[in-house]
Chain length 341, copies 3
């Protein structure tokens, strides 16, 4: 697969500066691109790397300074890069067509056209899988499950009974959807299990990273709205609702019945306490502990999480604390000297 | 399935206030219950939600104020709710009877009466499974494993060799029991693996959430005592012991050889350092880091964890720290003015 | 299996003090060793446990005081213990020889001599597995994967397409290698997936704990260098590189493109921000948040992580903060009294 720079410029609706006949055979990161590859710089501060790159050309934004190798200028360098990345790396065939004979599919389950099902997959009674979906080996789907179209379930995903997964969803390996919520009624020293009879709803265009745990609701549904993106090893407890297009980094945990807004950006290893609501577009810094409501568009940080300006003021004061101790001791001795006089 | 309010009152040993002939067909959360359902309020402060609920009746405690819809009063509203929840949501059949023909069970393994075994399950040499247990598809059980009766192993659980799991235990999908403990002997720059030849013992009535990792002991046993409840994505290192009925929220990690007391309540994302002991009934707030012994009945919080009163005093002082800086500067300039005089 | 103390001393190149004819049948921890077992004390401060142990002998270092039971003195007591542990606990046969007939191996895949493959294993097109490796039941290996020799993949491990795993590697159950990195391009309120076309390279002698997630690179490779040891439930994001012999405790997360040095020692539940580099032999205390570069041999701690001396000074000052508030108030009132005069 190869394109000239001029052809690349056409593909990304950009403009060549330099030799348009240069042949490009792939895309690479600036630090390890090979001759024949095109690389990409979005931030002008990385322009210094141009001198040492082996790439034959570079994709840049419109405001980028002139550099020593041919460039393709484009309005949105990042999206253009995405386009080229897809062009030069067409998806490889990772699962054969059809349904593998070793899959165990209940006679009452229905499978849409063109859906691929790998070796050892198990699909339970009355479950319905849409069209053009891909179910890799080792996936276990319980009874009465619904999966949409163009959805990908990677190897060893588990969908428990009655779970609903939308279309164009990607669940990475080891994801468990619909495990029981963590609910017990205490009696003296022992705990009785509260049956978790609710479900999980995962809407369209959601992506969930490997080894995440998404618990079913006690009653009602745990809901992951359209367009949500979860990184790996995330905990979503029973009856949580995550608003549309919210993005959450790895190892974050959301306690029971908490409702997150839309378009939130949440760092890694964050914890949310249970039974709270958080506003739309709130940003939460990594490792924070969110224990109460924050209004839309807040930026919060720390443990417990506070608005970022307040948290940073405290941080700064904290760094000066050891010095303070000395200053107070000095004040005290000076004052004592005065008192003697 | 339906009951009149009068029949419900009998079932939960309570008393109807209002029309006992109202027909109830299910149970719902107060905010999304439908007409025909009964809902539940334990805390009088939620009484305001009564006006907007569509539920036909509500289950309340004995001290609850009078409200506009029929109620069933009962001594323990929460337990009564649990009873109704079970009544209206009988377990659905999620795995067929018998042993699926695709399961691979070693000829020396023994399986108790009425135990159900799903597709693709693997059970190793000399392993023994009790009666009435349920082993979902994709579970892998190694050699010499013992599993009790009435135990449920959800899809894709792994039990490594020589692990012992009791009766009435529930292990959720993705749980790994008996992986090697993290032990190495350093020699210069490299590490030699210390063989982990111990086992894991999980006693009766334990429940372990999805994707937890429970490591085998180096020597001896990692032990999870009767009645312990673990949420999802929890790390239990080699030679840990968790006391009876201790409850631990998601993503907490317990380092090697640490011994937790009975009836502890531990929040999410807590870390315990290795080789410590913690007393019975200690409560640990979420995201704390516990690095030393605390006596029974302590309530601890923070990083590093301290008794909660001390931690809160420090928190409060910290919030006043930026103001303090100003006060000290003022003191210094006043004192300097004095000194000039 | 049994040895006399004299034979043990020969095996570990040590010296018996006491009766060399004592027969030893196994190894135990000091607190639960049985008669007939030898135990081990490395730290002289544990000498007090000798009085209550039931062990018949104890393995100690050269500087150890005299005790009441026979000892074997040796230069490196820990390594000697390791040797005995291996001697008395030879590996048990946990997977039968050969390839289980239920395994689904693509006709173009190659499997080295003496490699054992368990029930239900799936190996994709063009993948190549080395000699003497062990692949437990339920493992799913995608297309074009390379696995070296003497490598162990425990039950339900997933290796996605094009991943490369070296020799003498151990991957514990539930590990996912090669899931997509977490990369999206934002357009208005929605996110477009950035194809993750890179790979993962795991070099020789690496061990990775259960339920870890190792994402593939966007472009290029996520690299785990020779001798790295990862505990359980660790997140390794796309394009991360972990230097040789670095050891990381459970539940730590490393964000995208971060490069860790060699021989680092990293505690549990640590978070690393993305796009940073950290020096060789840096030690990071548990639960820290590392957000910037630290030079080789640093010891860092806290959130955000700071050099440990600085962090401890701040900790100490923080503990004195509530008292400080009182001292400042006193200063203020004294000064006010002066001003009145």
């Amino acid at each position: 697969m190869e394109l000239t720079l001029t052809e690349i410029a056409e593909l990304v609706n950009g403009e060549v500066v330099g030799d348009g006949s240069v042949i490009i055979t792939g895309v690479g990161k600036i630090e390890d691109a090979l001759p024949g590859q095109i690389t990409f710089i979005s931030n002008p501060k990385y322009v210094k790397f141009i001198d040492s790159t082996k790439a034959s050309a570079v994709l840049v934004g419109e405001d980028f300074p002139q550099v020593s190798i041919p460039v393709v200028r484009t309005k949105n360098a990042y999206f253009s890069f995405l386009k080229l990345l897809r062009y030069f790396n067409p998806p490889i065939e990772t699962l054969e067509e059809g349904i593998h004979p070793s899959a165990v599919i209940h006679e009452t389950a229905t499978i849409g056209a063109n859906t691929r099902i790998g070796a050892g997959v198990v699909i339970g009674k009355s479950s319905r899988i849409g069209e053009n979906s891909t179910i890799y080996p080792g996936v276990v789907i319980g009874v009465d499950v619904v999966v949409g179209s163009n959805t990908v379930l990677h190897a060893n995903v588990v969908l428990r009974e009655r779970v609903k997964v939308g279309s164009k969803v990607i669940l990475h390996s080891g994801v468990v959807v619909g495990s029981d919520g963590f609910g017990f009624a205490r009696e003296g020293e022992t705990y009785h299990k509260i049956p978790q009879v609710g479900i999980v709803i995962i809407e369209d265009d959601v992506e969930i990273g490997s080894n995440c745990s998404i618990d079913r609701a006690t009653l009602g549904a745990t809901i992951i709205r359209k367009g949500v993106k979860l990184d790996n090893l995330i905990q979503v407890a029973h009856n949580v609702e995550i608003g549309e297009n919210t993005v959450i980094a790895a190892q974050t945990g959301i306690s029971g019945s908490t409702k997150l807004g839309r378009n939130m950006m949440i760092g890694g290893q964050v914890g949310f306490t249970g039974h709270i609501e958080v506003g739309d577009r709130v940003t939460v810094a990594a490792q924070s502990g969110v224990s109460k409501y924050f209004p839309p568009d807040s930026v919060v940080f720390g443990y417990p999480a506070r608005p970022i300006m307040q948290a940073k003021r405290q941080e700064a004061a904290l760094r000066r604390l050891p010095g303070l101790l000395k200053r107070i001791s000095e004040l005290e001795s000076k004052l004592a000297a005065f008192e003697k006089k």
